[in-house]
């Protein structure tokens, strides 16, 4: 039994790493920013962490914090042009940003190791560290969602005019969401660097971007549990159906098309909505008289 579980440990590690990235993507979408920059910001964090440890001999925990800081600062810089854009234009601008980061990874070879990547990173992060990071991340997402910030994000995403008319500063809140998302991507980029000995320049490219976005869209955009469900399903699927592992992207694509068509709010969000609707209608039936008087008033 233990052996079987141990066999799945690398998969569990991958799940935790990708879950953090998924939350980085989830948070900006929640605040109504159509940014895909998580992959680029993760690359910034990964290379910052890797370079600090390998070339400058920083201790891993310090490098991790600085990687988060780097992700947050780059996100802050990027938020200035993004605040002028909406919707699909934000998406295109952030994809362009990822391209810039990938090019820098290759061409700034003195710093990043160029096409050969950054090698010889000491492995300092294991399952326990990742699990702690995961729990902390879920906790932070929970507190943010249930605070004035989460309420402001929800309002901005659904209707900017309403949010502004109630005193919510759109630029300030979207910038904040983007900075938190960037810091999160930076930290998880560095965690990935410290977990895997080496970084490849194209590691955080288009495939990675699509995977992260797919976790959120498939799981759900408006509940905390959404990214967990999405990441778990998409990572487990190729393992359960081994013959499909080769066609991973094909399976992703098919599954996404199905979910977008039949469960447009994502798997977790749809199930939670249905459970809530059932509970409410049961309650309404029970206290029918109270509800109808309220409706009549």
């Amino acid at each position: 039994m233990t052996n079987i579980l141990l066999g799945y440990q690398p998969l569990f590690d991958l799940f935790l790493l990708h879950l953090g990235m998924a939350y980085s993507q989830w948070l900006v979408l929640r605040a109504g920013v159509f940014s895909l920059a998580t992959a680029g910001l993760a690359a910034v964090g990964a290379y910052t962490g890797g370079i600090l440890v390998v070339s400058l001999g920083f201790p891993a925990p310090v490098a991790l914090l600085l990687a988060g800081l780097a992700g947050g600062i780059v996100a802050l810089g990027l938020s200035i042009p993004l605040a002028r854009l909406r919707g699909v234009y934000q998406a295109i601008a952030t994809v362009a940003f990822i391209q810039i980061v990938l090019s820098l990874n290759i061409y700034a070879s003195g710093l990043t190791g160029g096409p050969q990547g950054l090698n010889g990173i000491p492995k300092t992060v294991g399952t326990v560290t990742l699990l702690i990071a995961g729990i902390l991340t879920v906790y932070l997402m929970y507190t943010i969602t249930n605070s004035r910030l989460g309420r402001a994000f929800d309002a901005i995403r659904q209707n900017e005019a309403v949010a502004a008319s109630l005193g919510v500063s759109i630029v300030r809140h979207q910038t904040l969401a983007f900075i938190i998302s960037g810091a999160l991507a930076g930290v998880y980029g560095a965690l990935e660097a410290f977990h895997s000995y080496a970084l490849a320049p194209s590691q955080f490219g288009f495939t990675f971007l699509i995977s992260i976005l797919a976790y959120v869209v498939l799981g759900g955009r408006n509940t905390i549990i959404g990214p967990i469900v999405g990441t778990a399903i998409l990572l487990l699927l190729p393992e359960i159906a081994r013959p499909l592992a080769e066609a991973r992207m094909l399976v992703y694509g098919l599954l996404l098309i199905l979910v977008i068509n039949y469960l447009p709010h994502g798997i977790a969000d749809t199930l939670i909505e249905r459970a809530r609707a059932r509970r409410l209608s049961a309650r309404l039936a029970k206290s029918d008289s109270v509800a109808t008087t309220a409706t009549r008033n």
Partner: protein
């Protein structure tokens, strides 16, 4: 202390949508703004609420100049609004829709909000309680947990009112608040507006329904073609030949 528009104009290129409009909304009273379709009512609303840049003139709330303020600053100057086409947040529950109205009063630091510190949690609990009191007052407590998108039209209008009230405004701008309502629903809202005015709130009521306006307002302004053509007590203004011409078609009829 009033909401004041002084010589406010709006030009779209050569088209004049508002032509030096002067309006004063005193506290504790309901002031009406009427006019036929295309008279420029929506332009006025959008300029007051910061959604449209003012070309000329000055707008102030309680002595504070808000001519070029952004929409969120205007809310903090204690001017709230409702929308002509209802705008609730459909993904959120009824209670959550009201909670966002309290945004202006939430003072805990950003770090406390991110980390979920006790100060942020206490503040959240406090506004949940305040939102529940508002629901009680409007007789909608039983609907608190329902998704707002599924509410009936009348309930959505009430919800929008509660959300605007949550920001504790001194002035409220109501953009066609009874559009699509039946008489019973609009009568109950009329009572509410009078109650709010009696507590000292200044209300600017933009309406099509002349009967409703003349019942509630002591003073009304009539807009046509972007300029004010009459103002005064409803009984006087509505008999004004120019107003009748604007509404019924005048010499062309």
């Amino acid at each position: 202390m009033s909401l004041t528009l002084q010589n406010v104009s709006k030009r779209f290129g050569g088209v004049v949508a508002s032509d030096s409009v002067n309006i004063t909304v005193p506290k504790g009273k309901i002031t009406g703004l009427i006019g036929p379709n295309g008279a420029g009512k929506t332009t006025i609303v959008n300029m007051i609420t910061g959604m449209l840049a003012v070309s000329d003139g000055q707008i102030s709330v309680g002595g504070r100049d808000i001519t070029h303020a952004s929409a969120d600053e205007i809310c903090r100057a204690r001017l709230a609004r409702t929308f002509q086409n209802i705008r609730i947040l459909p993904d959120n529950s009824v209670l959550e829709n009201i909670l966002i109205g309290f945004h202006r009063h939430e003072k805990c630091s950003t770090l406390a909000a991110i980390l979920g510190l006790p100060s942020a949690r206490r503040e959240s609990e406090k506004i949940v309680k305040m939102a529940e009191e508002l629901l009680q007052r409007f007789g909608m407590s039983a609907l608190a947990d329902f998704p707002a998108g599924g509410l009936s039209y009348g309930h959505q209008r009430k919800l929008e009112m509660m959300r605007a009230l949550a920001s504790e405004p001194e002035f409220m701008l109501l953009d066609e608040p009874i559009a699509g309502m039946n008489d019973v629903e609009s009568d109950s809202l009329a009572e509410l507006f009078q109650e709010l005015a009696s507590t000292g709130m200044g209300i600017l009521l933009i309406e099509h329904n002349i009967r409703f306006v003349s019942k509630l307002c002591e003073y009304i302004y009539v807009l046509d073609g972007g300029r004010l053509i009459a103002e005064g007590a409803p009984t006087v203004v509505l008999r004004d030949p120019e107003v009748m011409a604007a509404y019924i078609g005048g010499e062309h009829a």
